[in-house]
Symmetry: C2
Subunit: 331 residues, 2 copies
């Protein structure tokens, strides 16, 4: 197979070229590196090495910033942005700048130093997902913020500096450009069809059943039609909702199930690959958009993706998503 496919939301063309997978060097597996637990600031007993916790799920009677927690949210020790200060927008010659105001938090997902999501209890994964919701609802009160980006880097090659499972949250005074492109693309589609493009994708995928890895009552996991990377996976809620923070407890249970299943399959099929996941949700000040639909994008970081791709916006994917889907279903 050798064809161009267009991402229907942002209009990005991708080359699906499965012949390239036959290159001798095309698919060397990249196993995650691990750092040792004894010096890990995210392990029990090392709480003093992090800034004071913002919130935590703890055993009764355990004290703040001591062991006894199952999930712990802290400010990033090396924050890209700071909450304190005034939001000032100004010109800088012909350019534009804004003071570096924002929040940068770390969600330590478990006391276990090297568990991945599928190895945790389901309750723990549900609690992580509830904490995402609660942190959004809390930070949303700060009207300086326009967007909250939640993501997870797992493995050094995916940008993680520590092995211990954690995700990150960045609250921003602007909307990231990829989200802007999704908003524009999905709004154009809505203008044309009066339907949400993500809802259409869910229906199309369920009808064709070529790229559905798994589904349950509330969620579907697919390899998207114009996958940029081998084994790229999107998890979409079946109920149309633009805002993650609207998620209901029953949905959280079903989201935890599908995340754990996908995470297990990825770890088995690709032998503990480095990966990223990113929550795509509505801007904080745009409510109940008919054209936008929150979702999670998961990208395993296998070898062979260079800076060329992000410099040009052009992606060559040697594994058709239909093959990736088949492989993951059979794993």
């Amino acid at each position: 197979m050798r064809e161009f496919r267009r991402d229907p939301i942002v209009g990005r063309w991708v080359i699906i070229s499965s012949e390239r997978a036959h290159r001798p060097f095309a698919f060397s597996k990249t196993e995650r590196e691990e750092d040792p637990p004894n010096t890990c600031p995210f392990c029990w007993g090392n709480e003093k090495f992090t800034p004071p916790e913002i919130v935590a799920i703890r055993e009764p009677h355990s004290s703040k910033d001591t062991p006894g927690w199952s999930i712990r949210v802290i400010p990033n020790k090396y924050p890209a942005l700071k909450v304190e200060g005034e939001l000032i927008k100004s010109a800088d010659g012909i350019y534009d700048k804004i003071t570096g105001i924002g929040a940068h938090e770390v969600i330590i997902e478990t006391p276990q130093h090297n568990f991945d999501l599928y190895q945790m209890s389901k309750t723990n994964v549900e609690n992580i997902l509830k904490i995402y919701r609660d942190r959004i609802l809390d930070l949303k009160k700060d009207i300086r913020f326009e967007y909250i980006l939640i993501f997870k880097n797992c493995g050094k090659q995916a940008g993680a500096t520590l092995t211990h499972p954690h995700s990150q949250l960045i609250a921003l005074p602007m909307i990231p450009i990829i989200i802007k492109q999704e908003l524009i693309g999905s709004e154009n589609y809505f203008y044309y069809k009066e339907r949400c493009i993500y809802c259409d994708i869910i229906n199309e995928e369920l009808n064709k059943n070529l790229r559905v890895i798994s589904e349950n009552e509330d969620f579907i996991a697919i390899c998207p039609y114009a996958s940029r990377f081998p084994f790229e996976i999107w998890i979409l809620p079946k109920r149309h909702d633009p805002m993650y923070e609207d998620i209901q407890d029953k949905e959280i249970s079903n989201l935890a199930s599908i995340i754990q299943l996908i995470n297990k399959k990825l770890n088995l099929a690709l032998e503990k690959p480095p990966y990223n996941y990113i929550l795509h949700t509505s801007p904080l000040k745009q409510y109940n958009l008919s054209h936008y639909h929150w979702h999670i994008e998961i990208m395993p970081q296998l070898s062979g993706v260079g800076g060329f791709e992000w410099g040009s916006g052009f992606y060559i994917n040697p594994i058709p998503p239909e093959e990736a889907t088949k492989f993951l279903i059979e794993t």
Copy 2:
């Protein structure tokens, strides 16, 4: 320093957060790995391991596909696209696809297995740049193509699969999304100001002199105001021209000089970093645009850039471009 800066062309916001450079792990240098020359298909004597050459600069009386060349252009052995076949655009359910028609060529830049650009003769670098021009002019005759992407990956971490110096060319039946964004952004600016934004950037940088690494009669090399990566560098022609293939021989000489200088500085300052460069030029069927301006973007691939960045479109850069410029000037 901790601030947001906006790329004036595409509107992408970047966090410049120099405090993060103090993280103990922020700036581990990544030296390029090298593979041995004896098995290299791009070395003299191994011509039989590549597809037949398209064009080459050769010693008189040397034969095609034998040693004696200084630069050799070949089809990619594992092409992402093929020239043969019909360009068919069709629906695929709710999605859109195009047959994988295109050209995918490799420009072997020198017979020397592990030279970087600054180590080659100036004439050789000029010849590489002339070959870029000539290949564009040749492939432009094929009306199926809309865009030609020329880029160089150097080092495995930058996506190169072979050490031997080479660049690549991909001719495409569509415009890559980042070029589209540049075209839209620069057109909006032109609509507002009646000036080319790239010309304005050149003037601003020459006036302020905070981010100019080097300039000569025809070219300027800067660290851009909203650099996504540490030591990101743009080389821009001072003469407004949207199309690289318009370049004159005198300009080629000055472009070779500034490329060799920048390449030497990068290799010395960052100890042979993996890097990419990408030629940004006009779409093939859009002539003499007043708002677009060809240029080269160079991105060293230092550690710490994860998939998060390209998944979200959001970049955190720990080295302000003013500091990177100063460091490169002093190197």
